[in-house]
Amino acid sequence: MTEMIGAKAFVRSLERAGVETIFGISGGAVIPICDELLDSDMRFILARHEQGAAHMADGYARVLNKVGACLATSGPGASNLVTGLATAQIDSSPVAAFTGQVNRDVIGSDGFQECDIIGVSASVTKYNVQVRAPEEIPHAVKTAFHIANTGRKGAVLVDIPKDCTTLRGDIEFPEKVEFRGYRLNPEPDPHELDWAAKILAEAERPLIMAGGGVIASGASHELVELSELLLAPTATSLMGKGAFPNDHPLSLGLCGMHGTMEANMMVPKSDVLLVVGARFSDRTTGKIADFAPNTKIIHVDIDRSEIDKNVEAMTKVVGDAKLALQGLTERVKRLRTWEPITEWRDRITEFKCVYDAENEKNGPYLRAPAVLKALRDELPRDAIAATEVGQNQMWAALHFDAYLPRTFHTSGGLGTMGWGFPAAIGAKAAKPGVPVVDIAGDGSFGMTENNLATAVEEELPVIVVVLNNNVLGMVAQWQRLFYDKRYSAVKLKGNPDFVKLAEAYGAEGVRVETMKDFRAAVRRGIKADVPTVIDVPIDPEENVMPMVPPGMGLNDTLMEAD
C-alpha cells in the first residue's frame, strides 16, 4: 500500500493497464489528472471535441485490438463523449472513457458542470461506475479495462469526482478483479459443435456469413480454412469486412441493403447458412421473413443473447468464433466422406455483376466506384481505411476491397457521420508506419473536420478522400428514389472550399478532376508529413447500387435505380 493522491493512482492504473496513448480534452474537473499526466510517459492526444476523442480511441482500439482510452472533463465534456461511446458499444469496440465529476458533496445538487453521466451513459456502455473514494480508483480502472476487453467487447465509463483525485489515500493496485455476475464462456460446447458440424457436412449449398465477431476473435484464418473445405461462398456483414479477403475466389462481399448481387441472391438460395459473429441487423437481413426462409441457420456468437434475437436459428454455438471455427473444421473433416459440390460455388460467377466501375467519368465528374478502385490500387495491402457514413460508406464497402482483418473500419451499427476522420487519426496513432485513409462524404467530414488541428499538431498524416457531392448524398438518394425527388434538408450549399480549409489548418489540400491527378495526390499523401485532404467532386445525382428497397427482401435487390 502506498500513499498518494487519487490523480496519481489513476495515472498509475492506466499505465498498469498498458495504456500508451490517451485521447481527450482537459477541463476543471480533470486538471489534477492532466497535471499527473505530465509526469507519465503516456502520450496525450488533444482532440478538438470530446466526440472526436472517443472516436480516436475507438479507431485506435479497432486497429490494435487493444482498449482505447479517452478522457473528458465533467458536464459537457462527459456528455460530448456519448456519441463516441454509443458508436463503440454497438460495434463491440473496446473503448474506456474516463470522466471528471464535480466534488462528491456537490453531486446531486446541479452544481456547475455537473452531468449525471452514469445515468446518461448507462444505455450505451457495457459497464459504468462512479468512484466514491481515492482508494477505489485502481480497482475501478482495472475492472473497466477487464470488462471492455473480454467476452463481447464494448464501451465502459469510469466517473471520477474531482476531490477523489486531489485527496490522498492508501492506494493498492489489485492484481485481479472479479465480478460475480460476469461469466465468460469462450469455450464452445462440444455437443453444439457436433450438431452444427453434422448439418454443415451434409449441406449441398452451404454459405457462410461472417460478422465483426470473426475479426474480434482473430479468426480470419480459420474462416478461410472452413470456407475452402466446404467450398462455401462467403459473405460478410459490414462489420465483417476484412474478415475474409475480398479477392478470394469464394468471396461474395457484402450482404444486405447495399450488398453485392451475388451475396444477396445466393444467401436465400443456400440450404445451410453458417453465421459467425454477426447479429442479423435489419440492414444485413432486409425483410426478415424473406431473408433465408428455407435455410437451416447455424448461429455462432460469443454473446448468448444474440441467438434468436433477430433471426431464429436452427442450431447455435455459443462461444469464441476462433474456437468454434476450429471445432467445426475438425469435425467436418472427420464427417465428410464425399467431395464438395462445385456447381454451387460456380454460381458465384453467374450472379456476379459488372458494376461498370471501370467507367471512370460521368460527364465532368469522376465516379466514386472508380475513384475507390484507384485508391485501393495505390495503397499497399495492409493500408488502413476508415469510412464516414452514407453513400461514401456503401461505395467503400462495395468497391474498396479489404484483404486483411482490422484494415477496414466503419461505424456499422450506429452509422455515425463524422466517425471516420477521428477514427483514422486514432488508427494512425496506433500504426504510424501504415498509410491510413478516411473515405469521406462532404457532410460527414464537416461534422468532425476540426480534428485536422489534432492531426497536424500530433503529426498524424492521414489522407482524407472527400467524395464531394455537395449534398447529404444517401438521404438525397432515398428522396430521389422513394420521395419523388423532393429534396429536403440535404443540400450543402455552404460547404467550405476543402482545399483552403486543409491549408488553413496547415494540412495539404488538393482538388482533383482526373484519375491521373487523383492517383498522384494519393501517392503524395502517402509520403506526406502532414494530413492530406483530397477533394473529389462527384455527381450529386449518382446512386449507390445495388440496393434492396426498404421493407423488401434480399431477393428484391435492384441493380438499377429505375
Binding site: I118, G119, A122, S123, K126, Y127, I147, F179, R180, G181, Y182, D303, R304, S305, I307, D308, K309
Partner: protein, 165 residues
C-alpha cells in the same frame, strides 16, 4: 399472453435497480410488477418480476438480464411448482353495519388481518396469489375502497428447485 414470473439475484449496490429498469425500458419489456429485497449477508438482492410476454420476448428478456454484469443468476420460475405471494393493503370506508359485516367476512375468508378499524374505516392486510387479491377486490369494490396499495409479486420455487447457486 401468459403471465410469467422471473426471479433474479443482483449485486446489492447503488444504481442496480436503475440499470435493471433502464434495461426493461430500453428493450421495450412491459413489466407488471417488480419486488426487491436484500438477502441476508450475501451482498445480493433478489428481484422478482411478473411480465406478460410470449416465449420469444421472455427468452430475450432473460438473456438480456443474464448479460447484465450486476445480475448473478436469473430464472423463469416454473408456474406449476412455484408459490407466489403478494400483499395488499386496502382501506374501506363505510358506516353501513351490513356492509361492514360483509367486509369483515371477506377479510376473514381470505385470512386477512385487520390493521386498523374505527367507525368509518377499516384497513385490511391481505396476502395471497395476485389472482386471489383481484378476486377479493372484486368483492369489496361495492363496499367502498378509498385507498389501496399492492406490493407486487414475490415468489419462490417448491422442493429442490432454487435460484441460488
Amino acid at each position: 399472453m401468459p403471465q410469467n414470473t422471473v426471479s433474479f439475484l443482483v449485486e446489492n449496490q447503488p444504481g442496480v435497480l436503475f440499470k435493471v429498469s433502464n434495461l426493461f425500458r430500453r428493450r421495450g419489456f412491459n413489466i407488471d410488477s417488480i419486488t426487491v429485497g436484500a438477502l441476508e449477508n450475501s451482498g445480493y438482492s433478489r428481484m422478482t418480476i411478473t411480465v406478460d410476454a410470449d416465449a420469444k420476448t421472455l427468452h430475450n428478456l432473460i438473456e438480456q438480464l443474464d448479460k447484465m454484469l450486476e445480475v448473478i443468476k436469473v430464472k423463469r420460475l416454473d408456474p406449476l411448482r412455484t408459490v407466489r405471494r403478494e400483499m395488499l393493503l386496502v382501506k374501506l370506508e363505510t358506516i353501513d353495519p351490513m356492509a361492514r359485516e360483509d367486509a369483515l367476512r371477506y377479510i376473514n375468508n381470505q385470512h386477512g388481518l385487520i390493521l386498523d378499524i374505527d367507525d368509518e374505516n377499516i384497513i385490511a392486510e391481505i396476502t395471497g396469489e395476485p389472482e386471489e387479491l383481484d378476486q377479493f377486490l372484486g368483492y369489496v369494490r361495492g363496499i367502498g375502497i378509498v385507498e389501496m396499495s399492492r406490493t407486487g409479486v414475490t415468489a419462490i420455487e417448491k422442493g429442490r428447485l432454487m435460484l441460488g447457486e
